[in-house]
């Protein structure tokens, strides 16, 4: 939808906390056991965070995106980035006020144990997260590529004016795309919560990885985002072999800048603009 959401990482953070409170805080899910509990919690975090995201979109973001905003000039074109930046600041710092700055994490037997495959140790919680993530990617890919609603979304993103003439409700498409994005992020956050510790500012680390991945793949390309994200993850991890640990994120930025300069449309991006 050509909407850049600065707050994406903070929705991720939010869902980590929701998953955390669902599993540990109130013990609602305790009866599901230590294995299924966190995963169910991750999927339950989805709707909760989705609701927050929906409210944010309905009352704030929708007013600077969609058909009306497409034609605006100057700061108008940046309205949506700036609004999501504001959302991000509120979520981060609101989180700090309400949740405190102590890092927390969900401890499950899965996050402590590993499978051994030859010389490789695989953390079980991470493997489960990975499998669920792959399933989600396939689901989204099929939705956007095969269903009527998905095609409508892509049309609305590609050329919102033309899509309007073809009878596609572009504002609705924006709403659906936003909700989908936030919902998926929330599930991802819920899953991550059991394999790493987090605090209210954690979102930002992910935003950087996310943008680098998406830009690498080409903005607006689903497959591109998947491969781009994977590649950036590998760069991040591999960089520690040659660079000091602190420069891990610098490596990401360097790759990010290289992509932007050498191939601004990304690996999978297509030129659609006409002069």
């Amino acid at each position: 939808m050509r909407v850049i959401n600065f707050a994406q990482g903070d929705f991720l953070m939010l869902s980590m906390y929701v998953a955390f409170y669902l599993t540990t805080g109130y013990g609602i899910l305790a009866f599901l056991g230590p294995y299924a509990g966190p995963i169910i919690a991750a999927f339950l975090a989805g709707p909760v965070v989705f609701a927050v995201g929906w409210v944010a979109h309905r009352f704030i973001v929708s007013r600077v995106t969609g058909v009306g905003a497409a034609a605006s000039e100057g700061a108008g074109a940046y309205g949506q980035i700036i609004v999501t930046l504001g959302l991000s600041l509120i979520l981060q710092n609101g989180g700090l006020i309400l949740l405190g700055s102590t890092p927390t994490g969900i401890r499950t037997p899965l996050s402590r144990s590993s499978w051994e495959i030859g010389p490789i140790l695989l953390n079980q919680a991470r493997v489960v997260s990975f499998l669920v993530a792959v399933a989600l990617v396939i689901a989204v890919y099929l939705f956007l590529g095969r269903t009527r609603a998905g095609k409508g979304l892509r049309a609305a993103a590609d050329n919102s004016t033309a899509a309007t003439y073809m009878g596609i409700d572009v504002d609705r498409a924006h709403r659906v795309a936003w909700s989908l994005g936030v919902g998926i992020t929330a599930v991802a956050g819920g899953l991550l919560a059991s394999s790493q510790s987090f605090q209210p500012y954690v979102g930002f680390d992910f935003v950087i990885v996310m943008y680098a991945g998406v830009v690498l793949g080409g903005l607006g390309s689903i497959l591109g985002a998947f491969w781009g994200g994977l590649l950036i993850g590998i760069v991040q991890q591999m960089s520690t072999l040659v660079l000091p640990y602190q420069l891990q994120n610098t490596a990401i930025f360097v790759v990010f800048l290289l992509i932007v300069f050498l191939r601004p449309l990304g690996l999978f991006g297509k030129l659609s603009e006409r002069t």
Partner: protein, 588 residues
């Protein structure tokens, strides 16, 4: 139009006096500190505004300059015993250099890509400084010579220092706003290709803007280090530092002199005050304040407080008719007078492809000096592509273009414009928020020694096209005819030898058409060579001396109008083969 420079100057003085009075009244050292921070954030925001407000290139990374400035001062003092009195100017140099180094590659990008790339710089630097072991460095106390090292017991001294920077930043902004620098940046913001084609070296102005912006930001960052005495990577390169100038400027009014200051005056005391009162109970309250403020302003008054207030209270300014109009005696530069007979523009074997599409294929075209040459062809024939090749927007895969005997290969559009080729666009590319006169002045900069000469040339050009009485109107509200004429005037203002007119006649009614045809003929009669694109045959037959017909990227015919209308290939291209067969007898 803008309020006069003198009045703005007095207003800056008034602000300075007000701040000084305020600092005398405030007792609490804490609020003195808040006041100093307010001034410094206002400077950063003004620095941001010079680049982003005027040129429209958004930066999410001004913390890079701020942080480098802060570390320059701090490290200079620790390692080289360098006093901040020299360290802060050095910080400005470092900031300016950083601006140039960052701008050089990054200006290849536009829009969101530019904004995102800018975000990466301070964050990448942040980790580098952490890795270098500068997690937390403190400025050494110099008890033996505090004044020499800018360490004052009285917090008001810092207010005065910060105020000095603010006044400097305001004066610089004012100078930028009222010069061709500011006009060039505004033109870039409103329509970059048009600015480039009008002879503005967009690259150079953008580089100047980011260098100046970086220098101001670095300077402010340097004083910030002196003020707080402790520098950490997070506090100077962090996301909030990058977000703050943007939020202040947007809140106050982007692209205005006073906007960043208004933003700082409202938001900094609010955020810092709440942080001071409630910081221990509600950590991060500043971020919430800034976040809420920016969302509120984008939703309620996206243009910012300054513009909203101005629209409400400023009297609708009536531009006084300029009675002392400069005599339009200097109509044509002597060298632009007829060089008749010689070939002015020569295209040899030009070819260009987009992917598999051969847009232009071995085009040979010669335009004689002083002629009125028309290029016609159906939609998609490659007419505009041809213009884009001539004026430098596109580089041909093959062939050469030469103008007045010199090759144009490798020149950028603004350089082509400097050589004496003006152009208009198929879809009018105006600077919608400028007046007609300002639009044309932007075009005149190329040929003018100074701003006064530029205005004079612009008025002459407006006279030539008969639009002088609309000089003060805002371009956004013009009719199609007026827009076409304004664009023509903009192309004519620097007194080019050749102008390229891209479908200047499209979308005009019958009466308007006659008027514009008259203007174009008159321009030719004054000695300017005209190359015009159209796809309607009728108007062109009346107008041009010579025709070239383009179809599917090839020149299929050339000659005098009466020959062309009887040419078989032309009729076929226009009306199709079946029509051709039907009228075959009459055409012969």
């Amino acid at each position: 139009m803008k309020i006069s420079t003198a009045r703005q100057g007095w207003a800056i003085l008034a602000v300075a006096v007000l701040v000084l009075l305020l600092s005398l009244l405030i007792r609490s050292a804490y609020y003195q500190l808040v006041l100093t921070q307010l001034l410094l954030w206002a400077v950063l925001s003004l620095a941001w505004n010079i680049l982003c407000g005027y040129s429209g290139y958004f930066s999410f990374g001004h913390a890079a300059f701020w942080g480098l400035g802060a570390y320059t001062v701090a490290l200079g003092m620790i390692h080289f015993d360098l006093t901040p009195w020299l360290g802060i100017p050095l910080a400005a140099i470092v900031g300016g250099l950083a601006g140039a180094v960052i701008g050089f590659p990054t200006f290849r990008l536009r829009g969101h890509y530019f904004a995102l790339a800018m975000l990466a710089y301070p964050l990448a630097t942040l980790y580098v400084f952490q890795w270098l072991g500068y997690q937390e460095i403190s400025l050494p106390m110099k008890r033996e010579a505090p004044v020499l090292y800018m360490q004052f017991a009285d917090p008001r001294a810092y207010v005065v220092l910060a105020l000095g920077l603010l006044v400097a930043a305001l004066v610089v902004s004012l100078r930028v706003e009222n010069s061709r620098f500011g006009k060039a940046l505004l033109a870039i913001k409103q329509n970059e290709p048009a600015a480039e084609a009008a002879g503005i070296d967009t690259w150079r102005w953008k580089m100047r803007a980011i260098t100046l912006s970086g220098a101001l930001a670095g300077m402010a960052g340097g004083l910030y280090a002196v003020l707080l005495l402790v520098v950490t990577p997070e506090s100077v390169f962090g996301m909030l530092v990058s977000a703050q100038p943007l939020i202040l400027a947007l809140f106050g009014g982007i692209g205005s002199l006073w906007g960043p200051l208004i933003g700082a005056v409202v938001l900094v005391p609010l955020a810092e005050g709440l942080n001071g009162e409630l910081g221990d109970v509600l950590p991060g309250i500043q971020g919430v304040v800034y976040g809420a403020a920016i969302i509120a302003i984008i939703l309620c008054a996206p243009e910012g407080v300054y513009w909203r207030l101005r629209d409400r209270f400023a009297k609708p300014r009536v531009e006084p008719r300029t009675t002392a109009k400069p005599a339009p005696a200097l109509t044509i530069a002597p060298e632009a007078r007829k060089v008749s007979g010689a070939d002015l523009l020569v295209l040899r074997n030009i070819g260009i492809s987009f992917g598999g599409l051969r847009a232009l294929d071995s085009i040979d075209l010669v335009v004689g000096a002083g002629s009125l040459h028309g290029i016609i062809g159906p939609n998609g024939a490659g007419k505009t592509t041809l213009f884009n090749v001539v004026n430098g927007f596109l580089t041909p895969d093959a062939g050469s273009v030469s103008f007045a005997g010199a090759p144009l290969a490798g020149l950028r559009p603004n350089q082509v414009c400097r050589r004496g080729i003006g152009r208009t666009f198929q879809v009018v590319r105006a600077f919608p928020r400028m007046t007609v006169l300002e639009n044309v002045i932007v075009g005149a900069f190329v040929g003018a020694r100074d701003d006064i000469a530029a205005e004079q040339m612009a008025r002459v050009a407006l006279d030539r096209v008969g639009l002088a009485d609309r000089a003060a109107a805002v371009a956004g509200g013009l009719t199609t005819r007026e827009l076409r004429l304004m664009e023509l005037a903009r192309a004519l203002a620097p007194q080019p030898r050749l102008i390229l007119l891209d479908e200047t006649l499209a979308g005009l009614g019958h009466d308007d058409l006659a008027g514009i045809l008259g203007v174009i003929r008159q321009v030719r009669d004054e000695g300017v060579t005209v190359l015009i694109i159209e796809h309607t045959m009728q108007a062109m037959v009346q107008l041009v001396d010579e025709f070239s017909v383009l179809d599917h990227g090839r020149l299929i015919a050339a000659g005098r109008p009466d020959e062309i209308v009887r040419d078989r290939r032309v009729i076929e291209a226009y009306l199709g083969r079946r029509w051709m067969d039907r009228v075959a007898d009459t055409v012969a």
